[in-house]
Symmetry: C2
Subunit: 342 residues, 2 copies
């Protein structure tokens, strides 16, 4: 079962806020419901958010009662705006919406033909994500040796994508190839995606995993318990990667301990015409920090910072693994030069 | 009110596991109860553990029915063993117990005289701790400038000591002197002493404090939001400081961002005849990581690392503030040389 599926006007996906206690599959039937699920992080992970946004537009298309091309396109654009307002940092959201809008604006025929175009393109985005991740896994596995202990962060797994995952696709392929690897995952405060989602995914696949708190990263590196780091990315800009808050801390520690730091990200996360300074870092609610479930863990009224992401300068990144292969620092420079030439 | 007080056969102290929701003062009436409270971290913080252990022996003395000097000393030594088995890393525990044992063994007179000696010495240890911390605050405040934002970690505050705190004593004195400072505290997983205790203490004193999760330390330093770090220490050895797990991660990040990293610790935490390699790092239960209160935050059966402390090599420490003044790297070298000469 994929993390997200289209079933004739119903999108079926897992409510990630309830894991690992409960595995609840939600049925989403409108674009507004989809936007709400993304905002509340029931659906999260940059590639999955892209596919979910595409399916959000597919739901609008499916249930549209528009009679004219203009009315239909207006409805789709209104839905696109609602989706775009959910989470500002991950680029896949905007990428997927743009792709659907381009497709439908260029499609010919009546409203029914346009509806089909939207739904077809959404399905294509989801299918491609699964294929892309499989390729990321296959390329990335070349970087993994028998006996490695890999530190990963947050959830760049099946649950962050349509299937396989990005960072976890690499770990899965290496494992399937018979490499005896171990994984350390840090819990990833405040929303605990590492503890709740990554540990859960890896345990289900039988891959050895050890959970630590985020502040133990220095300790495990100092003790020599880690020899590679692989994380995902919400956005790859020209001079940095943007990923879950805490990624930068891990990157600095990896650099200091001479541990390779790899980023797994599909090209749909690339935005190499932008710079780190252009990225809006989403600030989320203080209650994510001060409560765990219904338990308050800090004094009432305490001031809180809660940025959802941070920026890791490219100098800390040893390679980026995408569906085209392993991009070294040199490859990235070439890619940027080429983009700049356009 | 001090964090711990002796009231004729009853030790009164706050149950720190219930803060900040409830401020519950416990009455402890036996050494076994005291040992249990230390093990369960109802009483925590290296200097406070020292005073609590001393009072544990005072309780044994107070209620002793021994008729002979030998029987009394045997009882005290048995209590000392129980206390020593609670938490292996902080040195103040052993220091305080040793001090009481030395005093009582050298005391003259009958059992009543020995009882008085134990209780008197325990009270002296507690009084000295309060005085020592006040001095740490006064010396350390010289390092703080108007407008500073200071990052602190875990709880090196009043609740970790008999009064004032160590790192927080410095912050308190600087604030009392009228320096307009701000504090950032990280929540300190797994037991959340930063969120639960430090934020609570500072808010009560009206000192501006912002809470972050542990993985945001890199982010706030990268953004230039911090210009000094002050932490406590559970043990100062010749080549390192031993403190709450996560301290090393902060020290590496501070070093990378050229932010001074200060350690506040009374001389009772110094153990400069030992090296980092000699220190036993307490491994605590996995449930501290996988549960918050009654809420499970990770899959059942997941493998967990939970070291309570880590080791920060002395090269990351810019100065140690103790009751004798500010010890620079040069002062520490001299102190070590002197110790080595003995």
């Amino acid at each position: 079962m994929r993390t997200i599926e289209w079933k004739n006007g119903v999108v079926v996906t897992i409510d990630q806020t309830l894991l690992p206690e409960k595995e609840v599959w939600m049925e989403i039937r409108s674009c507004r419901e989809m936007a709400e699920a993304i905002r509340e992080m029931k659906i999260r992970g940059a590639p999955l958010i892209g596919a979910a946004a595409a399916y959000g537009l597919a739901l609008t298309a499916y249930y549209s009662e528009a009679r004219s091309r203009e009315a239909f396109l207006e409805e789709i654009e209104r839905s696109a705006e609602i989706l775009e307002a959910t989470r500002p940092t991950a680029v896949n959201l905007f990428w997927a919406i743009k792709r659907i809008l381009n497709r439908v604006k260029n499609a010919e025929g009546d409203v029914e033909a346009l509806k089909s175009a939207v739904i077809e393109e959404a399905n294509r985005i989801a299918n491609e994500d699964a294929e892309v991740n499989r390729k990321i896994g296959e390329y990335g596995s070349k970087l993994i040796s028998d006996g490695d202990t890999i530190l990963t962060y947050c959830n760049a797994g099946r649950l962050a994508t349509v299937d396989y995952g990005t960072a976890l696709a690499i770990i899965r392929v290496a494992w399937e190839e018979g490499k005896r690897i171990k994984v350390i995952v840090t819990e990833t405060r405040p929303k605990l995606q590492g503890a709740r989602l990554t540990a859960y995914e890896l345990m289900r696949d039988g891959i050895p995993v050890t959970l630590i708190t985020d502040n133990m990263v220095g300790y495990v590196m100092y003790r020599g318990l880690v020899n590679k780091v692989i994380v995902g990315a919400d956005r790859v800009v020209r001079d940095a990667i943007v990923n879950k808050i805490g990624t930068y801390t891990i990157a600095v520690l990896a650099h200091k301990h001479k541990i390779p730091f790899y980023v797994a990200a599909p090209l749909s996360s690339f935005d190499i015409n932008s710079f780190a300074r252009d990225v809006i870092i989403e600030e989320r609610s203080p209650e994510e920090v001060t409560y765990i479930g219904s338990i308050r863990i800090a004094p009432v009224g305490v001031n809180v910072l809660n940025p959802a992401f941070d920026v890791t300068p490219m100098k800390y990144v040893d390679a980026i693994i995408c569906e085209k292969g392993i991009l070294t620092k040199g490859d990235l420079k070439k890619m940027i030069k080429k983009a700049g030439d356009k």
